[in-house]
């Protein structure tokens, strides 16, 4: 079981640990005052990574080999020069910048692929590193895929890759989630790609385009490590599941109190069990009734429980972003953090929750150190 959490916030990267007494407390902070958008602890090497967005000074990536005691700045994904005299215009009429705006996902390759990391970015880029993050190479096949130009920004101005699932059976098979651009999959480590969002439904589109795979907005896509043909997606207007490796998605509609949210995690040892953190809906992004709850299914989405013990049930307006819910390797410990700086941990699969803090800076991502 994991006893350490990396919490990426608007004003630093906080290390949260479990005490001997069984409580969880903030035990350290790196980059205090800086905008840390994402962190990764690579279980293969023990190396930690922190992505920062300095605004004026750009996006940076730092690496620590001593659990956050010291950090070194490493390379960031670099976009190619756009063709001379050609501007890429998106469907909203905006010029798409071929420049790094945000590191939006960071995932390790398999244990058999030491040093390999994947990185998803805004705008719409997928990159890999074969030297533990020192240098990065763009996956040009996906960037040059003509259907990429159908992608649109979701909450951000430009589309981005927020989810990267490396198949535990075959490290060349990689599935990525795009807001808004559906789910894309390669089986040959990026030589070719297929859009795998059939069955997803976009309520926000005209009815005759609602099932277009390219315009779907999966907020977060996760793959079950022990049942890797099963994927869960928290989508902009609902919850979807695939049991056949993303060839077909099924919508799950009967979820109380809401099907809207950003985050989802799946139990590492049971593809039937998944957790979500709902809000009212897209145009009102606060918990239903001012009560923070987690929804959990144990039967593949046929039924859901609403978990609320230990969570604030009155006048709580916490929103949980897509990377701000995580589960440890045991499947019993989960943690989530909110835009209003609250952080909760459970040690019993969500039956009850412990409050770690209610006054952190806005939380972007929560990640268990394996």
């Amino acid at each position: 079981m994991s006893s350490t959490l990396l919490v990426s916030t608007r004003k630093g990267l906080f290390t949260v640990g479990r005490t001997m007494a069984g409580t969880w407390e903030i035990q350290g902070v790196s980059f205090l005052g800086d905008n840390v958008t994402l962190a990764l602890a690579d279980a293969r090497s023990g190396t930690w990574f922190a992505a920062l967005d300095h605004g004026h000074f750009g996006v940076k990536l730092h690496r620590s080999k001593d659990r956050g005691a010291t950090w070194e700045e490493v390379g960031v994904p670099v976009y190619p020069d756009p063709p001379e005299g050609v501007e890429e215009i998106d469907s909203m009429g905006r010029v798409v910048p071929w420049k790094l705006k945000l590191i939006w996902s960071l995932e390790p390759g398999l244990a058999s692929q030491p040093g390999l990391l994947w990185c998803g970015t805004i705008p719409g880029g997928l990159f890999y590193s074969e030297d533990d993050g020192s240098t990065w190479t763009m996956v040009r096949t996906l960037w040059e895929e003509p259907r990429r130009k159908l992608w649109n920004g979701g909450g951000a101005d430009f589309p981005g890759i927020h989810s990267i699932c490396v198949d535990p059976r075959d490290g060349n098979k990689v599935t990525v989630g795009v807001s808004c651009g559906g789910v894309w999959q390669t089986t040959d480590r990026g030589i070719s790609w297929a859009c795998r969002a059939d069955g997803m439904r976009a309520e926000y589109m005209p009815p005759d385009r609602a099932f277009d795979p390219d315009i779907q907005d999966p907020h977060r896509v996760v793959q079950c490590p022990s049942g890797p043909d099963v994927f869960w997606a928290q989508h902009h207007n609902g919850i979807f599941r695939s049991t056949d490796g993303c060839r077909r998605w099924e919508e799950i509609t009967e979820v109380s109190p809401s099907v809207f949210g950003f985050a989802v995690v799946v139990h590492p040892d049971d593809p039937e069990i998944a957790w979500f953190v709902p809000s009212i809906k897209d145009e009102r992004r606060v918990p239903v009734g001012g009560a923070v709850v987690v929804t959990r299914t144990r039967d593949g989405g046929r039924s859901f429980e609403t978990l609320r013990e230990g969570l604030p049930q009155t006048h709580a307006y916490d929103l949980v972003y897509r990377h701000a819910l995580d589960i440890d390797r045991s499947g019993s410990r989960l943690a989530f953090g909110s835009t209003t700086g609250s952080l909760w941990v459970t040690e019993n699969g969500g039956d009850s929750w412990l409050t770690v803090s209610t006054q952190l800076p806005p939380i972007y991502a929560v990640h268990f150190v394996a």
Binding site: H54, H56, F57, G58, K60, E73, V78, Y79, W98, K99
Partner: protein
């Protein structure tokens, strides 16, 4: 020789004290300064060598006009200030 001064806000992320360099344009002067302080380039310029959107370079008190190629002339004794543009309140 031109003198290049980086904003104090940048010093928190990377050490780049004032320096004297060779160069007849903003690009040449900045390239020389970036050479002295490896890693500083990416904080001021983007991946295509263009001045970052919220950065500004002053040469003898005047903001440069060519933010893309940085071709503005820099005199023998010029002061080149690399600043962050203020936005918000």
């Amino acid at each position: 020789m031109p003198r290049v001064v980086f904003t104090g806000n940048l010093q928190r992320h990377i050490s780049c004290p004032p320096c004297t360099v060779r160069g007849g344009t903003a690009r040449e002067a900045l390239d020389a300064a970036f050479e002295l302080y490896p890693g500083s380039r990416g904080y001021v310029l983007d991946e295509h060598g263009t001045l970052r959107a919220h950065m500004v370079v002053f040469v003898d008190g005047q903001a440069i006009s060519d933010r893309r190629s940085l071709s503005d002339a820099v005199g023998e004794n010029a002061e080149v200030f690399v600043m962050q543009a203020l936005s918000g309140g």
